[in-house]
Each structure stands twice: as structure tokens, then as C-alpha cells.
Subunit: 504 residues, 2 copies
């Protein structure tokens, strides 16, 4: 899941009612945690101190071995599962006698690539601060065993939020459940991936090669941050994506804007007109058939969106925005719709680097976020049809002299790999049971029928398992960025959440 | 003057009638040159071997001293004229007894900055090739004194074309005139500038501080290339310019295009729509009052344009263009009109460098080329009015949180220094005399009422002198680029041209 941003003031504005707490396992987890805070953090720090960038194979292997050891220390049979060239998935399994269903917990132990120079402290030397580094909170020593952590303290390290926290939360929850003598009712599997931040290039292959091993009745994706209001979030799907680069052409070289200005076509202007033709001023996409075939939201999904706290005004303040696209619709409903976004635009140089030229070409990269019912290739084709309707001769490899010289307007399209949207139905019994369980442990939730972002649904596509996101990190964890952190209370809440889910 | 480009085939296509040759001084210059080719080239090579980038003060001083020495060797009183911080202008003067007018010859001895790595041979080691480096013509030794140079050979070095060639041509022409015993009728002044390629930051100041020294009856600007057809070019003016950077804003940071796509305004799309609103599909500028107040072309100017060889089709082939803006009007007439050009456009990153973001801002740099009757500041103001009409709140310094948060659309405008257009009338007697003289030496000419490019008319603005461009370099001299060169015949023709002009 992609990064959320620091939203000062949101949490205060949305302090909800006191959390309901009528889940036995969650309460047991709280008690266990209160008596073992320092030990839990010590185990977490050891895991965080192992560098975990997906391309560093030796480090990755160490992480996998350590996590396998953490499972086995708890008597959970574990193994590393790979396909050629992949980083290992750490698999673990608790077989519960008499269980009629299996819950698969997914997390990933690799972290986003980073530049240590950007970090206030080294990313693989986990440490505690008394608050947020942005607020100049100082580094503080770990409290002595037996004393409490302040819940607003924060743990700084790469993957503290994304995504080693759920691994610690799950293992701690297991300790707590056992110490309290509680019984599990379901069989449990763990799938901890080692290259999610590299785009999961092998995960679907690993699942496909080991279908029985990873099969189950529900797939709980313990990745990402919770809602900006600090309410527990449940995510039932993700938008898909279709990405293309569009390049349009002027002369084969940059021309002097004095000698040829008014005469030589300007590709930056051509691109501006082409892009401008794709959306109306209100934000609606003008590509023919763009919205065709969209699967409508169900009643329960519409209700979930209607119940989502509206944070638009706070977000606008935070982002210095004087307006939003598609207003007055809210963010929560808008990300349930497909979008067309310009990721970037380039043509020659600007500002002090600009020359007195007519550029030779102009490029834009566009991503279109898709909802259920839309196909990535078909959507790209519809965009290309739109470009043709604007008078362009469209090519998919670099056009040569004869192509460019014989057409008034030529556009080069480069397609990037697409991804379909998915939405696990919120109506099915397992979804309803997950919702009830989570709310019994964590109080009122925010339920997103789909994230606005994209993530491949390997569980659904390869294994046919319903996939539900149960994140635990704070929304302001700086994931994917420098100074990644986890708020201590989010780890405590996560342990209780996992205890409840482990005992469904 | 800016660069022209290599136009293969144009010269053959436009081989005009045999040149008229009825100018006594030009014929004397030819004879002198034929007997001194190696000596002329040797003097040229010594001058080209002195590096001449404007910021390298020591090199510049060496150039100035050497040129002063070349004048004094010919008995021409010379001095270096500066203002604090400027590079020196080499001034020289031939006082002709009884002369009733003074002709000022302008050239510049500094060259465009360069990257030696881009050059096939070192830029300050002048050498001869048997043709164009692009055609793989080899380096050849200088022929022995007394033997002839092939006119299609080329001299490679920085400033061979732009703009040391006229200095050699003028000095050689003086030698020839004197050897032939011809009398000058006018007094002659020389103004050889040392920082033209740095934007002439001090030239107007130097003239203003030395008005009497530089005053005269006509200012002959010996800079730039001749016409692509190889006909002699006469240039009577230049377009002006008004340049602005436009930046429009989205959120204060790049946002995830999944989590916020459809909701957060996309500044690349805003900029695309804004730019698209500035011109119609035919190329006409849609800014209100943009074309107001333009001084129309005179009959003689219109005639000059009508007589200009039409090279559009050859240019289109050369540039791989399948269409031109403002067709079916020709290049020659279009550069007599004002233009609006996007120099460059940037927003976040594109292609493989693109991220899945909504950009935080988008910037375009725009130049508007002006014709007589247009004011640079007023034209920028009209553009800004247009931007306001598109719903923007326009600021001229970086907008802060409160400005951005309280306006739906905010545009930052950065104005760059403007320049007015000028056109020396082709009707006045001195223009007519220059035209007659040049045509007597060089045959049919191409007469441009104005260059499409911009160059400050310091002579006109500070001294009130009519300013006429009499270039000599080949159009394909790679000026401002690597592998700058001069075709040998262009130097020979230039010597004859200067001989004719020196004896007006």
C-alpha cells in the first residue's frame, strides 16, 4: 500500500468514542503486552536491525532465517519457499485440531529502498523517540524491563511500519493467547514475503507452484497504515492500473524559437492540447467508453463509504489546496471511481535551464486507476483511440523519418504492465465475521470497499481466496520515505487485533 | 544570431544565376585573395587558436590584444574600450579625408561556451577538412603557399563561423583595397565586442559611455549565417522577445496517485489546459489584444518577403515534419509575425523515471517573439491577463500556504528580461545604398525585413544609427553547437563583400 501523509490535527478532530473491548483474546493480549513491553520491543528491534532491501540477497536471507527461527522458537513448523531467482517466502503453519477453516496471514519482511543520508538516524539501528522527529522529539533510551512505554513514543527504523510490525504483532499475539490458555478455532498459516517493495515479481509464481501449501479460507493482508483518524481500517480491494507514456514530436532536433517560431510545430503545445482533451474542467475523463462496463458498488459498499469519516477539509489544509477535483464529491467516494492522472510531463527544459528553442518532443506519463469491470489493456486501447481521434498517427515503437515526415501528428505510446482491480465482497460471511471480530477488538472501523491504490491480488487470482486488508501502522509512519516509524500504541493495538483474528 | 541547421540538398536546389560581379573593390579583393590564400588562412588560424569563451577573462584579453595588434599592424589606430566588469570592445578607426559619412562595422570575437568532449577535434586547434565532418570528410593539411584552397573545404574551430570570420574578412579586404590603390570614400569604424555570446550585458553601457567614439551613419552587423540557399543575406531587423516562466500548483508535495487520484488537482493537467487555451489549432495566439498595435510591413518589406526563396518543403524534409504551424503561410512571412512558443515544460518525472504520483507543480517557459509596435512588458501583461481569465490567481513570487489554500488555481509568473523588435527601414537611402553595393558584389540577395530571432539593437537604441545585418558564414556552420565550421568559399565571398562595403 502506498504512503499516506502526515495529517496534523486530524487525529484530534476525529477522536472517536472509547473503543469497544469485548474480545477475550484481545483483552488477554493487552494484559500479556502490559507485562512484556520491553521484551516485545527487544524482539522487534532485533528484527528491525537486519537490513532488508529486496535486492540485497544476503540480508534478505538473514531476515528470512531469523523470522523462521522466531516461528520455530514458538513451536510453529516453518520453511522457506522460493522459485528460481526469488527471495524466500517464510511459510509457517499452526494446525488446529478439528478446525474447519484456515486463515492465512500475509505480511512482507522486505523494506523500501532508501538513501541513509536522508535519515535523521541510521535506518537499520532501531531506536525510540519521545514523539515525531518532525516535531524534534529526541531519541530516548528504552525503558527498563517492567516499566511502561508511553503509547505516543515512536520506533524509528526502516520497516518499523511497513511491514515488520505485523510480524511481531502476530507472534506476540500467539504468545498471549497461549499464556491465557485460549484455544484457536481455525488453522493458521503465515506467508511472509521478501520482495513486496520490489513489486512482488515472483509472489504469484510461488503461490501457483505451492497452491496447497498457501490455500485457505481467507487471506488477511497485514500491510499498510490505518485511517488518518486513527480508526482501525479494513480494506476489501484495490484499484487496478493501466500506465502509458505518450510522446509527441516536433522537428527531429530542437529548433531556434526565433528562426522557426510560428512555423515549426511545437510538441509541448501539441501535448498540452492532447492532454487537455482527456478530461473536462470538473475532472471527468472524456475518453469515449472510459467508464463503460464498470461494476457498480453494492449497497453494503455504498454504506461503508457513506460511513467513512470525511477528512477532505483537513486534507486540503494539510496539502495547501484551494480546491479539489470532482468536488463536491469526497475523497472516499472518488477513489471508488476510475481516474486518469498525469504522473509527469517533460519537454526540453524550463526556467533557468530553458533554451530559446522549439522542443523536439514532449512526453507525458499517464496512469489510469481502474475499478472492477475495467480491463487494463482495453482501457489503454480506449486512450489510444482517443489520441487517434485527435488526429494522431499512433505508433508503439520509435517513429522514423518516413513516419514522422508523412503524418501531421505522430504519437508514440509505450505501455507499462497493467493490473486489474479487485474487490472482496463485504457481504460474504467471512467478510462479515472479520468485520465483527475486528470491531469487537478495536471498536468502530473504517471499511474501504477498495483502496485507491493498486496491489496485485495474488491470493484471489491464484488461489481464489477472499482477500481482506487489516493494517496496523499509523497513517503518519513515513512509509516508503525516510524516517519511517511506528507509533508504539499502534503496535499495542496491532497485537490485540491479531489476537482477535487468530482466534476467529 | 542563433543557429541555422544543416539543410542537405537546399543549396543544390537553389543554385541561383551566376553572381553579378561589377564591384571594383570586390574584384580587387578576389584577386588579392587568390594570391594570398594561405597567408589569409594562417592569420585566421592564429586568431581561432586563442580560446574565447566570454567568462574566461585572460583568454578574452589575449583575443582583444591580438585583434588590436592586427589593426595596428595595418596602421589603423585602435584601443580597447570597457566599462567596469565588462570584456573590452576592440575599437578601430580609419579616418578618410573629406569623407561625409562614417560606416561602423560590428563583429564579436567571443564564442559560445562549449563542451570539448562533444567535438570531433579540439575546438581551439583550427584545422581544415575536405568537406563536412558529418559526411566524414577527413582532416587535410593546409596547402602550400601559392596553391589554391578548394572552396568546399571547411575550417573547423570555435568561432570560425560565429564570429571571427568577419574580422579576418574585413582586415583582408583592407589589405586588398590598399594593394589595388583604391580609395575609401567613407570613414570607417570597427567595434568588435567580447561578450556577445554571454548576452551582451555591457555593450549598450559601453556605447552610451562613448557615444561620439562609436557614432556613425550606418551600423553594419557582420554576424550570423547567410541564407540556406547560399544567397547573400541582408537583415534589416530582429524580432523582440518577452519570456516568462509559468508555474501552477497541486498539493504541496507529490501525492500517491492511487490514494488521491480523482481528488487532488493535477498541476500538469492544469498547465496543459492553460497552455492549450493560448493558441488555436492553426497556430493563432488567442491571448486578447496580443496582435494589437503591430506596425504593418511597408511595401518594400512585403516585396522583399515575396522575393525570398521558399524553402519550406526542403526544411520539412530536413526536420522530419509532416506539417507546419500556420500553413499554408511560409516561413519567411511567418517570422514577420509575433509568435508564442513553449520552450519547455516540466512536471515531476516521465517514462522510467516516473513515480505513481500526482505532481506537486508544473512549469512551462514561454517565449513570445515580438514585432514592431509590441512592448515586451505589455505583452507579458496581456499573457498574465489571459491566465487570470482562465481562473488563476496570479502571483509574481512563490505563493505560500495561505495563498495556495485560499485560491482554487494559483499561477506563479517569473518574467525574464524582454527586448523590443527593431526594423531598419529598407526605404532610406543608406539601406538602398547598402543593398545596391552588396548586390554589385554578391549578386541577387535575400532581404529579410527582420530576422525571426532577437538581438538587441544597441546601435539604434543608444546611438540612433540604422542597423543592417551583413552576415558571411554558411548556414550550416554549426554555430552555437559542436564542430562549428566555416566553408572556405564563404570566407572568400565575405572578403569581397567587405571590400565592397568598405568602399561605399
Amino acid at each position: 500500500m502506498g504512503r499516506y501523509l502526515i495529517l496534523a490535527g486530524l487525529c484530534a478532530a476525529f477522536a472517536g468514542p472509547a473503543l469497544a473491548q469485548n474480545n477475550t483474546a484481545a483483552l488477554a493480549a493487552r494484559q500479556w503486552r502490559q507485562n512484556h513491553e520491553r521484551a516485545i520491543i527487544d524482539e522487534f528491534f532485533s528484527l528491525l536491525s537486519i537490513p532488508n532491501i529486496a535486492r540485497d540477497k544476503t540480508d534478505i536471507q538473514r531476515n528470512a532465517d531469523v523470522i523462521k527461527g522466531m516461528l520455530e522458537k514458538r513451536g510453529i513448523p516453518s520453511k522457506l519457499v522460493s522459485v528460481p531467482g526469488s527471495n524466500p517466502v517464510v511459510f509457517g503453519e499452526i494446525k488446529t485440531p478439528g478446525a474447519t477453516r484456515t486463515i492465512v496471514f500475509y505480511a512482507h519482511y522486505d523494506g523500501q529502498p532508501l538513501d541513509p543520508k536522508e535519515w535523521s538516524t541510521p535506518p537499520f539501528q532501531p531506536l525510540l523517540r519521545s514523539g515525531k522527529v518532525e516535531d524534534k522529539a529526541p531519541v530516548i533510551p528504552l525503558p527498563e524491563p517492567g516499566t511502561s512505554f508511553d503509547p505516543e513514543w515512536r520506533i524509528y527504523a526502516r520497516s518499523s511500519g511497513d511491514d515488520k510490525a505485523p510480524i511481531i504483532a502476530i507472534l506476540t499475539a500467539i504468545d498471549a493467547i497461549r499464556a491465557a490458555g485460549l484455544q484457536m478455532k481455525s488453522s493458521i498459516k503465515f506467508a511472509f514475503e521478501g520482495e513486496e517493495e520490489a513489486g512482488s515479481p515472483n509472489f504469484a509464481k510461488i503461490l501457483a507452484a505451492n497452491k496447497d501449501l498457501f490455500s485457505g479460507d481467507v487471506w488477511l493482508n497485514c500491510d499498510g497504515p490505518i485511517h488518518q483518524t486513527r480508526r482501525q481500517l479494513l480494506v476489501f480491494g484495490a484499484r487496478g492500473i493501466s500506465t502509458v507514456d505518450i510522446t509527441v514530436y516536433g522537428a527531429r532536433i530542437e529548433l531556434h524559437s526565433g528562426h522557426y517560431g510560428n512555423w515549426a510545430p511545437n510538441p509541448a503545445m501539441l501535448l498540452a492540447k492532447l492532454l487537455a482533451s482527456m478530461k473536462d474542467d470538473g475532472g471527468r475523463v472524456l475518453i469515449d467508453h472510459f467508464y463503460d462496463g464498470i461494476e457498480p458498488l453494492s449497497e453494503i459498499e455504498k454504506m461503508a463509504i457513506a460511513e467513512t469519516p470525511v477528512v477532505d477539509e483537513e486534507l486540503m489544509r494539510e496539502f495547501w489546496l484551494g480546491a479539489t477535483e470532482n468536488a463536491p464529491k469526497h475523497l472516499a467516494e472518488l477513489i471508488m471511481m476510475p481516474s486518469l492522472n498525469i504522473r509527469g510531463m517533460s519537454s526540453s527544459r524550463t526556467g533557468l535551464q530553458a533554451s530559446n528553442v522549439i522542443p523536439a518532443s514532449a512526453t507525458a506519463t499517464i496512469d489510469m486507476r481502474l475499478v472492477k469491470g475495467m480491463d487494463p489493456t482495453q482501457t489503454a486501447n480506449r486512450l489510444i483511440d482517443h489520441i487517434r481521434k485527435q488526429g494522431y498517427f499512433v505508433v508503439e515503437s520509435e517513429p522514423d523519418e518516413s513516419v514522422r515526415g508523412s503524418h501531421p501528428k505522430v504519437a508514440l505510446i509505450v505501455r507499462h504492465q497493467g493490473e486489474r482491480a479487485y474487490r472482496t465482497s463485504m457481504d460474504i460471511s467471512v467478510s462479515q465475521e472479520v468485520i465483527r471480530t475486528v470491531e469487537s477488538a478495536r471498536g468502530p472501523t473504517v471499511k474501504m470497499p477498495s483502496s485507491g491504490a493498486t496491489s496485485p491480488d495474488a491470493a484471489g487470482e491464484v488461489l481464489g481466496i477472499p482477500n481482506i486488508g487489516v493494517p496496523i501502522a499509523n497513517h503518519d509512519d513515513n512509509q516508503h520515505s525516510y524516517n519511517e516509524n511506528l507509533r508504539v500504541q499502534n503496535l499495542w493495538d496491532g497485537i490485540e487485533l491479531m489476537a482477535a483474528l487468530l482466534t476467529i
